[in-house]
Symmetry: C3
Amino acid sequence: MPISLGELATRFGCELIGDPDNVVDSVAALQNATSRSLTFLSSAAFVTQLPATRAAAVILRSHDAADCPVAAFICDDPYAMYARMAAVVCPEDAVEAGVHASAVISPSAEIATSAQLAANVVIGERSSIGENVFVGPGTVVGDDCVIGDDCRFVANVTIVRNVTIGTRCIFHSGAVIGADGFGNAMTPDGWVKVPQLGGVRIGSDVEIGSNTTVDRGAIGDTVIEDGVRIDNLCMIAHNVRIGEHTAMAAMTGIAGSAIIGKRCMFAGKAGTVGHIKVCDDVVVAAKTFLSKDVNEPGTYVASFPADTARSWAKQLARFRRLGNLIDRVKKLEE
Amino acid sequence: MPISLGELATRFGCELIGDPDNVVDSVAALQNATSRSLTFLSSAAFVTQLPATRAAAVILRSHDAADCPVAAFICDDPYAMYARMAAVVCPEDAVEAGVHASAVISPSAEIATSAQLAANVVIGERSSIGENVFVGPGTVVGDDCVIGDDCRFVANVTIVRNVTIGTRCIFHSGAVIGADGFGNAMTPDGWVKVPQLGGVRIGSDVEIGSNTTVDRGAIGDTVIEDGVRIDNLCMIAHNVRIGEHTAMAAMTGIAGSAIIGKRCMFAGKAGTVGHIKVCDDVVVAAKTFLSKDVNEPGTYVASFPADTARSWAKQLARFRRLGNLIDRVKKLEE
Amino acid sequence: MPISLGELATRFGCELIGDPDNVVDSVAALQNATSRSLTFLSSAAFVTQLPATRAAAVILRSHDAADCPVAAFICDDPYAMYARMAAVVCPEDAVEAGVHASAVISPSAEIATSAQLAANVVIGERSSIGENVFVGPGTVVGDDCVIGDDCRFVANVTIVRNVTIGTRCIFHSGAVIGADGFGNAMTPDGWVKVPQLGGVRIGSDVEIGSNTTVDRGAIGDTVIEDGVRIDNLCMIAHNVRIGEHTAMAAMTGIAGSAIIGKRCMFAGKAGTVGHIKVCDDVVVAAKTFLSKDVNEPGTYVASFPADTARSWAKQLARFRRLGNLIDRVKKLEE
């Protein structure tokens, strides 16, 4: 959407150095930007690209302004400012109110008139869809779900049942919310399924990645609080609670009944065992698995950097002989 | 479904202390139970909550009965008994025989009259759907599949082709069964796809989690025996065999042609390399990867507990200097 | 498809020892092969099964020919030759040109007349589908996508938007290509979504496994070059580039902006952090995570073999006392 630099500056309360009447209609990286594009400089790694940029305007910090050959938006956090301005310059498709002829809606469901239900959408019994919700093609919303206003389900999402969702949430394709948790009781005759009867409660401003699964609680609910961001292929097991503004990168797995604090960050392939408590502001490194309660904010790690096969084989051999080494040191001490 | 305590006691051969005419119609945790709910006490961790419970009845072991302020079901395994009773108190939705108008069924497919095919279901050529099967919305069953009685496909499940399934199996949303295995032959011109021509054979009483994938065999079949339970986002590669009553928690991956025994348990993110044999009754800890045959039942582990970033960095440095340490000890010994 | 040995020999320029008029119509393992089946001997592990095979013909290396009791195809790489011959003996289902009545196609989409669109397919605005493409049931192709000739989307695939795909690619069920990358800027008010505005460009002869996700770029594109093979449940994050003929086994995760070379191989559950460069011809072992640039071809590892719980507990204790051990050695040295 074409918009003038002046309008962006006003809307976001951002200082502008340059002609307010110049117009941008796209975003680009510093290096590829053209005379109609907005770009940003956030990381020092790209500072050398600044003097040569041909962008219409660059969002940057004040100390970089002198090197900027074009218009500059000055702010403390160029990446966040870029996120906000880019959403205006390149907005999401507008929701087109209406229900596609192929959608199948239970008579007891309630669909807001401003909602858009795309092809092959299925809405279950007693479920409600809020205002301006976009339900993409192939998406199934099962029984007894409440979908708040302005949510977006991209395509082929499955909201199984008993799921309550706040406002402005985004669910990417293949996400499955509200499926049975993994509850099984061992008996002499094999496993007996433990009925999974709870639901899932999701706050507002939550984003759930492609093919991520969030299971319903066994008795109570699985809870995802406001502002949580979960990447692709993550697993949130039954009865987990994830605190506000926590973010989880792809392939993170949280086992059953774990309670995760606010503003935590899980890097890729991280996770926790079940039934533990993780306090607020914990960062878990990639591939790291928490196996007990964490009561102190901070960064936690348990991963080994990769080595060449030959060097790692030697190192493994050394590791395995640790007991022998300890014995030898003991002997020397004696 | 409202049911009297007496009826539950009779049906499950369970001793009841309390009024058999009291009725329950829901389940709840000890702490939240109300006068119409059934609950259970299985873990010692919750024993302090027993005296204050307001449940209609608690399923518990005999040694806890004295502290129970309400009716008690006495049994040896309260969790398994709860699983069974809860399935009666809160039963699955009944299957409503019939085929939705939007379902697309190949002329050569056979659908039992008691089966329910929901909206947008697709059934391929020469496939058969057994009695009382529920095929949820958006589910695709491809060609040449046999689905036994009483199976349930929640929604958006994909059964690709050549898949044979026993009775009473449950497939959660996004599960993909029978896709091509990962077979590629390297040549000077790049990879050549090795046709995947086998099928998948699944026994009875198997449950497969959301977004889990079970690939078809390359030539023979991939086999999942009776009573196996697989959680979400697991990967069962081509030609794997999984023995009866084995359970796999989320994100477990079993590589091609591995043979897994009976009653094994894989914790979250566990796995095996391909072409190995794992005997019966093996437990694999979270994040642990079996890289060779396991011939002895027992628990296997290869994971490190997370540490603070600072402490882990020190520990990594120590680990890397192991060779140096060994040299120094050798020198001291000389 | 029944075909004579002579015809196979001619088509693939392969030496045949045996009656060229014999016909095969199936493939099988050495042990289970019958008089109409083609089989192969590639791994020494199966050489003992050769003398007893009842196959019509065996594809093998010249030094195994003497032990072959039936017809033999002689070649240097029996596995690759098997892959090619099997694709002729057991071909993919032919594409049946036409659009199913239930498919929903945007007026601005262009569908080649030889393409097959199955039940419940949805094609978005300005997207084009090439010749002989098979779009399986439940598949959604969003807006602004270009699908090259001879591609195959098995079922329930989601191509979100802005995705360009070459020729002869295969996408398995549940794969999600072109969803938003995981871009979030932290602010005092919580996370702000960074609009994901790039696309995905996929070359030719690429195969993507079930439930694998490939995210669109943040500004530029995510790129998968020709001949890449990606197994199930993998994650390719935004702005990643994967070089020609690289293969990734199941559950591999490549974090944002990583650049992966050509002919690399990632074993199961492997991965990389973001923003690194991996050169050509790198092999990453199972469960191994690259955390920095790799500039030398070779094999990289960082995983520990599983041990019994008891033995591992001891070993962990030794590992944790490494600092103590180092101190003791230092003392001895003094």
